[in-house]
Subunit: 353 residues, 2 copies
């Protein structure tokens, strides 16, 4: 609990005056004012978060946190639970969607076993922070103990901090866990006080009948566990997941170091909700890479007041949207730092100049 408390305590509000510094520079560049739209907004946000007027987001790291979910025994997914471990092997071999998109973005992928149900062995690029062998079935009881919830967050903090020493300018979050949209819908419904029907989607691609059942199971899970919406650790432990706790830890640790956090889709969003409940100031440090097809994601983004960069109908997770978003963010920063000014380039900045 000490590491979590210390990390939360280090999170401060950013220096808002930096926004006007960044605005001044953007308006001096050879383009009509604000003509690069959201690129300019994103550049300002990176200045705000990093505290640097000429920032760089060269060193990019994506943490893809994996864990299993006991609720899969209720058959709420289109894929068997074995796929979590199989996909972790795919990640370490470099063949998954996140590997392809992170390579393209120039981002390092760090895969973390937060609680896969089998032992995965040693692999280069895989960090073992196993809190348990999958969560328990939330339809029958708590996913994990409160101590395990704290341990999962602290494990996320530790993996971030270890990597931070190697150099991180920007961090992305990602997930792998068959059954984890079920947990994320439960978290989202409880924290945002939204009807389950509005925050529960088809995940990996279940049919309409299974969707009805999935909603029933989540209702049951909330009824059985009675998570306290005002206590983020209660929500995480009762209906969450180990990988979700790990992502919460990465978010908190990054924000404490003023490193911009690019969240991916629905599962990262659910983790962001928990991080936000723990420390509302994190919101200013989070950038939403995209809006997922998984419909609860939009509710999360609206709740947090985040505007997604991309709308590409993604619903894969793993950090894939974060990788794409990082590319747009780096381009934004380069606009701020590499474009010529009107004065420097000898270009008239208005009719009268």
């Amino acid at each position: 609990m000490q590491l979590l408390q210390d990390t939360i305590q280090k999170i401060k509000k950013p220096d808002y005056f930096l926004i006007s510094e960044a605005q001044k520079r953007l308006d001096s560049l050879t383009k009509p004012q604000a003509s690069l739209g959201r690129l300019e907004e994103i550049a300002k946000q990176i200045v705000l978060i990093s505290g640097r007027t000429m920032p760089s987001v060269k060193n990019k790291v994506i943490f893809t946190m994996a864990a299993d979910h006991g609720v899969t025994e209720e058959e709420v997914s289109a894929f068997p639970k074995e796929v979590t471990a199989q996909m972790v092997f795919n990640f370490v071999k470099g063949g998954a969607g996140i590997n392809v998109l992170a390579r393209y973005a120039g981002a390092k992928v760090i895969v973390v076993d937060m609680g896969v149900r089998v032992d995965l062995g040693n692999h280069s690029g895989l960090i073992i922070k196993k809190i348990g062998y999958g969560t328990k079935n939330i339809a029958k009881g708590s996913a994990m103990s409160r101590e395990e919830a704290i341990a999962s967050i602290e494990a996320g903090i530790e993996v971030f901090e270890a990597e931070y020493n190697e150099g991180i300018d920007i961090v992305g979050t990602g997930d792998m866990g068959i059954g984890n949209t079920t947990a994320s819908s439960a978290i989202t419904s409880v924290i945002t006080a939204s009807p389950l029907e509005d925050v529960t989607g088809k995940g990996t691609g279940i049919d309409d009948k299974t969707l009805v059942k999935k909603i029933e199971i989540i209702k049951k899970a909330i009824g059985v566990n009675k998570p306290d919406a005002k206590d983020a650790l209660s929500v995480l432990s009762k209906v969450g997941g180990f990988e979700i706790g790990g992502i919460v830890g990465v978010i908190l640790a990054a924000v404490a170091k003023r490193v911009p956090v690019v969240i991916d889709g629905f599962i990262s969003g659910a983790a962001a909700l928990i991080a936000y409940q723990l420390k509302p100031e994190v919101k200013d440090f989070i950038i939403a890479s995209h809006c997922s097809v998984e419909k609860g994601h939009k509710i999360i983004l609206d709740y947090l007041g985040l505007k997604p960069i991309l709308n590409l109908d993604l619903r894969l997770g793993e950090g894939t949207g974060a990788a794409l978003g990082m590319g747009i963010i780096e381009a934004s920063v380069k606009i701020l730092t590499e474009m010529a000014t009107f004065q420097g380039a000898g270009v008239s900045s208005s009719l009268s100049s």
Copy 2:
């Protein structure tokens, strides 16, 4: 006229059966089916356009075509006409928005003087294809002769073909020309039969009063010149611009070689309308990088049935949106060509597998 006719004649419908080939591969990759949304759609389109089942879009070239507009004497822009030439110098020195974003995307920028009102001299990376020293004022008469319209398109074909011999996998279009949103609004209104109020925006950032005047001027231009909506060369010559003709040429030449064309914002969109009128088959080969703030752009995209990749509130032109879009397109292609298959990675593809 011969080069234009020959180029148009070379344009054929793509081989639609390739879509199902690409779909088969996408569905064999380690992800839930269609979970990468628009990335998968874009990858299929690149297969269709290129005719290759495992395409590459490594060699990227953006043509930024510049020219002046006589209509600037009506004071329809927030910037003086001198800025066109000043920005061309900024392009060749590498300080403009397009330079920054093209560098980031790994794209080469080729700047073409299609009709700037002054002589620019020799500069590395600048091609001179001057059709005239700016168009004439469309409020008083035709922007250019029909012969000049054809010459501008053929110049675009020539610059593409010269560069094609160096190797191009994907091409982007861009523009520079103070006054060219005025010409583009006129083209869009005529071809799409839309009220001028719906297709005329604030360009580089004029005030409300100037916007009213801009609409008046365009009305006058259409009244004086009576462009024939069914004759694309009439529209281009009467209310167009030399850089718009150049972009038309690049589009036609690229499509004739089955090279995907990534169009930028409103001006590139107006050029796409003309290319489409000349040969409707070009539509399948065009990818819309983004939807501009300049409101006529959405009308163009809807008219052509194109769905923009990005919505970033851009309105700079130069090819900046095309550069960003190319990054997403290349990522899409890498998903298709670099991801592991279920079988190859030993991942279960369904509950029963």
